[in-house]
Assembly symmetry: C2
Homo-oligomer: 103 residues x 2
C-alpha cells in the first residue's frame, strides 16, 4: 500500500483524535452507552469545557454524533466501525485487562 502525502495527512488527522488520553476515555465511555456532556464530565472528572472541546474534534471527524434532547445533548459513537478501531487500538497495546481477570 502506497500512501501519498495527501492521504497520509488525512489518515493522520483521524489518528490524532485517538492520540489523546482524554478523547480515548470519552470514546471508551461512549462505547459503553451514549450519554450527555455532563455525564462525561462527572464520570471522567474532566472539566466541562475540555469535554466539549474534545467532543467538537470527535464530531468533526464523524467519530461521534450528538443529538439534543431538551437541555442536554446526548453523544454516541457514530458507528460500529469506530468501536472496532478503538477496540483494536486498545487491544494492540495489550496488557490493558481486556475482560474480567481470571478468578
Amino acid at each position: 500500500m502506497i500512501l501519498s502525502e495527501r492521504d497520509a495527512e488525512h489518515v493522520a488527522e483521524t489518528m490524532r483524535a485517538l492520540a489523546s488520553p482524554g478523547r480515548l476515555r470519552i470514546l471508551a465511555r461512549l462505547d459503553e452507552s451514549p450519554c450527555s456532556v455532563g455525564q462525561l464530565e462527572s464520570d471522567l472528572g474532566i472539566a466541562q469545557a475540555t469535554v466539549s472541546n474534545h467532543l467538537r474534534i470527535l464530531r468533526h471527524l464523524d467519530l461521534v454524533v450528538g443529538e439534543r434532547g431538551g437541555r442536554t445533548v446526548t453523544y454516541r459513537i457514530s458507528d460500529g466501525h469506530v468501536s472496532e478501531l478503538l477496540r483494536q487500538a486498545v487491544h494492540h497495546v495489550g496488557h490493558v485487562e481486556p475482560q474480567a481477570p481470571a478468578v
Copy 2:
C-alpha cells in the same frame, strides 16, 4: 470497556505514532518491504534526520525493528499486528483508493 487514565495514556502514546503523516508513510512503505533509512529518505522525499527521528519513535514503541547489516540498517514492520492496525486506520478513513480502481 472502561479505560483508566493510566491505560488511556498508554494507548494514546501508541496512537500518537500513527498521528503523523511522515510516520504513516514510513510505515506504509515498510509494509511493502523492509528497507534502509536511505531508501526511505529517497522514496519518500523526507530529510534523513527526519526519517531517523521518526524511526526512533517507531522503534521505541516496537512498531518497527531495525537490523544493521554493514553500513546500512534495514528496518521492517515488527509484526503482522502492526500491519493490521495500519491497514485498518487507512481503511477507516476510506476514499483512499484501497486497491486498484475498477477498470
